[in-house]
């Protein structure tokens, strides 16, 4: 069902859209790369939002799925000369399958096992990568030799000679007239918008309502005819696949992968981004990702070591104060404003004074009726 679209909402999106498109023209390469970073983190955070915010399953291992996407992309493009598009597709399917494999057994047993299995996955992913050293480049990782030359360390030189080909990474095509960083940004932007729209449609559809029903009360959903097991496993797989899209972007952006990029810390950071922005919303992950990246930049270099401490603190504070994240605060405010307006109107009709009442609990309201 479509609803009459409010003009101001269209205006806001239009302005944001224009800004997003114009941004690279005015920003330096480094800053554009930061924006690209926001994009890939928000995609991965969206994956988490879909899984946890809308479907109520918890994953502590999305950093691993992102890592999978990045590694598969790297290996395929560098070793096997696969095109970036193809590599991305394969990476997503790979992560999707792993997601199914992980999500399936967890169904038979209590929900906590999913949390544990994903925790194990996240903790062990770097070790597994090292174990598969031949393909993955072990602790040194995989990467491309940048055109400017890389050869500081002897090990890298050696690996470069043995494994790194002189592929040039995901370069901007001639016809675009763009620099590499700008090209990356626009490609990411398009992909991200597509992914976000797809997820938005999914969430607003009948299937999406089923997912939310599972989140709120699994037994009731089952009784109401929702195919709980199928939905949960598929959601997990899809969520893993979306995270792998973020991984593909990571590989494109950084031109290098190593085990230390994908530790449990990354998984938790993604969680923080999703929760901070608002896990049961589409826009929330973007807000969260933006804040995370901004925080990282804002913290002065001497204090960089405190970054994770701050992120952890943020997660705790959000849970204590505003579990719905920033979007949750926005929704609560909107609801309260609407309620006050409605009561004033009703009071005007009855000639009495409006009765103060508590705001409805919008953090758990049926999210499919929310526009954001």
């Amino acid at each position: 069902m479509t609803r009459p679209v409010e003009w101001w909402r269209v205006a806001v999106w239009a302005v944001l859209g224009v800004l997003a498109v114009m941004a690279p023209q005015f920003l330096a390469a480094g800053e554009v790369n930061r924006l690209s970073e926001v994009i890939y983190i928000s995609v991965a955070a969206l994956a988490l939002a879909l899984l946890t915010g809308y479907n109520g399953q918890i994953s502590l291992g999305h950093g691993a799925f992102l890592g999978m996407g990045a590694y598969v992309t790297m290996i395929l493009t560098v070793d096997y000369n696969v095109s970036y598009a193809m590599a991305g597709l394969i990476a997503v399917v790979f992560a999707f399958v792993v997601g199914l494999v992980v999500g399936l057994p967890a169904l038979r047993i209590t929900g906590i096992y999913l949390a544990l299995v994903t925790l194990a996955l996240a903790t062990l992913f770097p070790q597994i990568v090292v174990r598969l050293g031949d393909i993955t480049g072990s602790t040194v990782g995989r990467g491309l030799v940048p055109r400017e030359g890389f050869g500081d360390s002897a090990a890298l030189e050696e690996l470069g000679r043995r494994r790194f080909l002189s592929t040039e990474g995901f370069r901007a095509p001639e016809w675009s007239g763009l620099a590499d960083d700008q090209w990356h940004y626009y490609v990411f932007l398009v992909i991200a918008v597509v992914v976000f729209l797809l997820v938005r449609n999914l969430v607003g559809s009948r299937v999406g309502r089923g997912l939310v029903a599972i989140r709120d009360n699994e037994t009731a959903a089952e009784v109401a005819g929702v195919p709980v097991s199928t939905y949960k496993v598929l959601t997990f797989g899809i969520s893993a696949g979306i995270a792998a899209v973020g991984g593909w972007m990571f590989a494109v952006l950084n031109n290098a992968v190593s085990p230390t990029s994908f530790t449990i810390v990354l998984s938790i950071t993604l969680l923080v981004a999703a929760v901070l922005g608002g896990a049961n919303s589409i826009i929330g992950p973007v807000i969260g990702a933006a804040i995370i990246v901004a925080l990282r930049e804002a913290i002065p270099t001497e204090s960089q070591r405190y970054t994770q401490v701050i992120f952890g603190l943020v997660l705790i504070l959000v849970m204590l104060i505003a579990p719905g994240g920033i979007v949750g605060i926005y929704r609560r405010t909107v609801a309260r404003v609407r309620q006050t307006r409605a009561m004033r109107a009703a009071a005007a009709d009855h000639g009495g004074s409006p009765d103060g009442g508590p705001a409805p609990d919008t953090d758990k309201t049926d999210v499919t009726t929310q526009e954001v």
Binding site: P105, R108, L124, E218, L271, V275, V309, G312, I316, L320
Partner: protein, 295 residues
């Protein structure tokens, strides 16, 4: 034969550490129905504090005891200050999990900030002596750890079955509402439960540090093993957790040692394979009650 005995005791040492941490996990699971994902990091942090005290002159023995107390305080504090504010574990399980994860991150990075990222050697509580046992030289430290585990098991058995506090803990676990209606101070009781778990966890931290080295990431894999042990044993069975830990430790060590295909890199495999098999056959673990088995 000598090598075999050596391996058995190595496996038991690792297994005992998993068992101790698993015990802490099970206590909180029984009391509050949830998993404290920060359990390992709390243990790591208290061990660092102990090292710090040791570094400024306190004997290691006293420092370790101090870390026990700190573990208790952190556990109790975590419950009282954060969990209670969230409305308890039953009202908001997802939020509680998130909070423990946030704490995980804070403690992990915090330890790095305070004490740096270089691994620190740490003495052994039970010294470096060895003893002849079944033809092999077994470190007294290993025997000491096993002894501590035994004391914990017996101690908790006595606590839960024969003391008023234990009865209160079991009542709160069984039916929190009715416990309050019977006059039990629920928040205080749970605080003590979480505190005990924190204290036990710090033991696991101390022993892990002695076995390898003290570093801020040392407990992450131990936590995974401890969860595996609790899964194997049944999340609401302390005895199960202990046996699960010992079994996983033994199996990992022996399979890695004797099955060439499984090299040291795949050390994790046997334990996890075992857990998976048991789960497929008996979802609630070896000793878990039926309600653990299905969501």
């Amino acid at each position: 034969m000598q090598l075999f005995i050596q391996r058995v005791f190595d496996g038991l040492q690792a297994g005992a550490i998993y068992a101790i941490l698993a015990l802490a996990i099970v206590i909180i699971f029984r009391a509050s129905g949830m998993l404290n994902f920060a359990q390992g990091e709390i243990a790591m942090f208290t061990t660092f504090v102990a090292w710090n005290l040791f570094d400024v002159g306190l004997p290691w023995w006293s420092a370790s005891v101090a870390s026990l107390l700190i573990g208790f305080l952190v556990g109790a504090g975590l419950y009282r200050l954060l969990i209670v504010r969230l409305g308890g574990t039953h009202a908001n399980p997802l939020a509680v999990v998130m909070v423990t994860i946030g704490l995980f991150l804070m403690l992990n990075d915090g330890a790095g900030v305070i004490w740096g990222t270089a691994a620190k050697p740490v003495p052994r509580v039970f010294g470096t002596g060895r003893v002849e046992l079944f033809g092999a030289g077994i470190a007294i430290q290993v025997l000491g750890i096993l002894a501590v585990l035994a004391v914990l098991v017996v101690g908790f058995g006595v606590l839960f079955q024969r003391t008023k506090l234990g009865l209160a803990l079991r009542a709160v676990t069984s039916n929190q509402e009715s416990a309050a209606l019977a006059g039990i101070k629920v928040t205080t009781t749970l605080m003590i439960g979480w505190g005990l778990a924190g204290a036990i966890g710090s033991l696991a931290g101390t022993f892990t540090a002695s076995a390898v080295a003290l570093d801020k990431n040392m407990m992450q894999v131990v936590l995974i093993y401890a969860f595996a042990a609790a899964t194997l044993g049944g999340f609401d069975s302390p005895l199960g957790a202990v046996l699960g830990g010992l079994i996983i430790g033994l199996v990992s060590e022996l399979v890695v040692g004797y099955v060439d295909l499984v090299g040291n890199d795949l050390r994790l495999l046997p334990g996890f394979a075992l857990v998976l098999i048991v789960l497929l056959v008996r979802p609630q673990g070896m000793f878990g009650s039926a309600k653990v088995g299905r969501a």
